[in-house]
């Protein structure tokens, strides 16, 4: 029951998030079409970030082949990977799949059991330009030429600004759910709209979700799960919700997406010119300001500073996230006796901990609490799953915890959490109609029929019981009746 993914990160990377932070992004991209990518790959920044989002092996094969003129051949891939030359195409495909999904390579059936993977030209060009710096699309942001004398916010200020803005939103969500009142300003209405449409928050008085009163939103279980994600994932989820909203309004989202990537490649502390960097995505840029991705000295100025939220967007691992750096994020020590020591004074983190930890002692910079059944189960009532808690714990584990032999979290605790999760639903209840047969053949015929119509819930051949979905009752009874007649007439 001990999950392999909870073991020591070096032995098995990505301990906390079974999915990478950009999981939402990946799923989004995988569903896009050729044209969409063509549009994306016009920007070198996108090519760079897409390349980095590939799994290492695939990534290196791409880089390996980037500068050669012929298309990549399956034989070559096999030789790179020391595969048997007779290895099946699937194995190669398995490795190259991410690149194919991103339309970096266009598979062409060469001979039988042989494939050619020519590069997508725009990607190849884009990546090469990214490496050589010969691009023309200004995708890395056009710096804003300011006068010498006007003041520039320091990196710390930018980080602080970004943190405040984003944590403000999170705090608002938390405080809406729990009694704890943060003195937080309500985010702008657009943000609330997004939170609502994304289903992170709902208006309890408005079950339909048609005309919610966005001032009375409360957090949903989905929202709680959102809170437990690490920062990287949260950012991308928000961005993806934003993107989807745009799509819903049938706007072209490619520009916006490529802007996200460009932001991710920008330099913290540097100011850029909005109009020249993103001529076609200005409105989106303004929206991002509300989430603290960028900072504008004055709302209508062309100058903007990306905050660490933006610049860290594409840095695959949260460790690279400036502002809340590694050891600031790793404050949890979890003992096998379920005691938790959290070296943090961050209101938000404490609030999140409070979701499933029974906080006993609270010092200025230290929280001592206990993972106990009552709190964990109450958290689970809120819709938080055991694995989410576990991932939260392991992603915030104190460096000290890495010095003890793996797994990072002690199996007993992991198991106990899973057990508590199990405990909640020991009953599986489903409406059913039971058919009780006496003749074997009739039973079997009906079972086959029910199976064919996917109406079967459960079949007990020994007792000759058949359980089927209620809505299919009539159909099945019809069938049974005529079978009965056939059989009866049979004798």
């Amino acid at each position: 029951m001990v999950q392999p993914s909870f073991s020591h990160p070096r032995s098995d990377p990505t301990p906390s998030t079974s999915a990478s932070p950009t999981a939402t992004l990946d799923t989004f991209l995988d569903n896009q079409h050729q044209s969409y990518f063509e549009e994306l790959y016009r920007s070198e920044a996108v090519c760079l970030c897409i390349l980095r989002s590939l799994p290492p092996v695939c990534r290196h094969i791409i880089l390996h082949h980037l500068w050669s003129h012929q298309p990549l051949r399956t034989a070559e891939v096999k030789s790179f990977l020391q595969m048997d030359i007779k290895a099946s195409l699937q194995e190669v495909d398995e490795v190259m799949r991410p690149a194919l999904n991103r339309k970096i390579l266009h598979p062409i059936v060469h001979k039988k059991a042989k494939m050619l993977y020519p590069f997508n030209d725009s990607f190849k060009k884009g990546l090469r330009n990214a490496l050589t710096g010969l691009g023309t699309s200004n995708s890395f942001g056009v710096p804003y030429d300011r006068e010498e004398n006007d003041e520039v916010p320091s990196q710390e200020e930018l980080v602080a600004y970004g943190e405040d803005a984003f944590e403000g939103i999170l705090k608002y969500m938390v405080s809406s759910g729990l009694g704890i009142g943060f003195s937080v300003a309500r985010p702008q209405s657009e943000v609330l709209e997004l939170l609502h449409t994304s289903g992170l928050m709902i208006d309890p008085n408005d079950p339909t979700g048609q005309n919610p009163n966005i001032n009375r939103l409360t957090i949903t279980s989905k929202g709680f799960q959102f809170l437990l994600e690490d920062r990287q994932t949260q950012l991308w989820e928000i961005l993806m919700y934003y993107l989807n909203a745009k799509e819903a309004n049938s706007e072209r989202s490619a520009e916006v997406l490529s802007m996200f990537f460009s932001l991710g490649c920008m330099q913290l502390g540097q100011d850029y010119s909005a109009s020249q960097s993103f001529p076609r995505a200005l409105s989106a840029l303004n929206d991002l300001a509300q989430y603290g991705f960028i900072y504008r000295p004055s709302p209508d100025s062309d100058q903007f500073f990306p905050t660490h939220l933006a610049t860290a967007l594409c840095s695959g691992d949260a460790v690279a996230t400036k502002g809340q750096d590694a050891d600031e994020k790793r404050f949890l020590i979890l003992e096998t006796n379920y005691k938790i020591y959290a070296y943090t004074s961050n209101e938000l983190e404490i609030a999140i901990l409070n979701l499933f930890v029974d906080i006993r002692i609270r010092y200025p910079n230290l929280i001592v609490g206990k993972l106990d059944r009552r709190n964990v189960k109450s958290a689970m009532e809120k819709g938080i799953s055991a694995s989410q808690i576990i991932s939260y714990l392991s992603s915030h584990a104190h460096p000290q915890m890495y010095n003890s032999p793996p797994p990072l979290l002690h199996p007993t605790i992991v198991d106990q959490l899973h057990l508590w999760d199990r405990e909640r639903n020991r009953l599986k209840l489903e409406d059913t109609v039971m058919f009780e047969f006496f003749s074997k053949e009739l039973f079997e015929d009906t079972e086959a029929e029910a199976n064919a119509n996917a109406a079967l819930q459960l079949a007990l051949p020994k007792e000759k019981f058949l359980f089927i979905e209620p809505q299919t009752k009539s159909a099945i009874t019809e069938f049974v009746k005529e079978r009965q007649n056939q059989l009866r007439s049979g004798l």
Binding site: T14, E44, P56, S79, L81, Q82, T132, G133, A320, H418
Partner: protein, 430 residues
Amino acid sequence: MVPPPPMESRFYPKTTPPSVLLVILDIHPLSWSLLSSPPPLPPFTEHPGIDKAQATPMSLPDFVTILMVFLNAHLASRWGNEVVIYGASAGRAKLLYPPPPNAVAGPSKPRPNSYHPFQLLDSRIEQGLKEMAAEEQERLENGNVKSLNEPPSMVSALTKALCFVNRIQPSSSTAAALIDPTSQDASGSNSNGPDRPETRILIINATPGSNISNSDQSNGVSGENGDDGDNNSKGQGSKGGQMRGGYVGLMNCVFAAQKAKVPIDVLSLPPPSIDASPPIFLQQAAHLTEGIYWQWNGRGALLQYLHAIYLPPPSLRHHPFAVPPQDAVGFRAVCFCHHKTLDVGFVCSVCLSIFCEPRSVCLMCKTRFPIKSIPTLKTLATYIEPIPVPDTVPPPVIQKGSKMHQINENAKKDKSKAVNGDRSDPIEID
């Protein structure tokens, strides 16, 4: 609950630790002039192993641009990857990137079409190279032309690189280990954090021949009479320093790298047409540290080769990727008396120092050897002749008559020195 990861994910790692690439770039002016204008004919025509094809000229600026793209690719291949570059010029080594703290941090304004880290790296490399070139220039104007005859001080660069590695990931044998004895198991793999970076060193050698031994042959005559001037000008440390910095130093670096599990990759630029004998000691270094040794064939395509051979981080190299097949490695040594590269040598049973000819007293530990055995050894020495070796390995260099003569007088000198028996600095023999 989470399903167990599928099979292929165990075969192909999902992520790799961030990797730090330390590049040691040989910018010896003579070597590069040789590379940029290759000689019309390969010197060793009688050697079967080399093809007579004319090498494409490769000038330092051309190569540096290629190198920059490669380094950008390294930075691009993973977030958190880092690059450190040392320049090794004649007898000197210098850190080129990251810039020294007091230096101006690159261009103030980022270019709209280049990723800022790339831009920083490239501009800084250019700047650093220019600085070094300038320093070389003034060294020449200050008149010590002989300094050009010194080999590029790879060793100095290597030591600096290893010190750097030691700083970013200290070995377990530091004060911390002294404090707690629990970290005393043979597997010293106590990592203080989720992912510690993996480091590797890439030596880009431009100097023909095994740049330690043949340096002494290259500046053989001039070096000899130059020595006195050398000694009183730069102090006696230098000569010994060169010798130690040559073979023993390199070996020490290799062992240190082995301990730190840092592979040393070697890219040897001089194509066979220029240089029939590969830098065997760099080759040994690569072999002993499980690095990759590869010699350019002088036919361009360096960019592809760099990406193909040297880009994958160590964690991916042996699996799933494969390292290119390595040549035969000559485990030759350099004798302490004349810095000759030896196939068969005479070794002091006490201190294991290596000599190219039988002698009565060990130069290092002053052990007296039995007079009786010397004649037998002498005769034995004459038996030694080069053996037919595979193409991949050069035949041992044959001494010219003049060289022989010179060595003999060296030997005399040594003997006299040995009799004086100053143990202060055993290095300053010859």
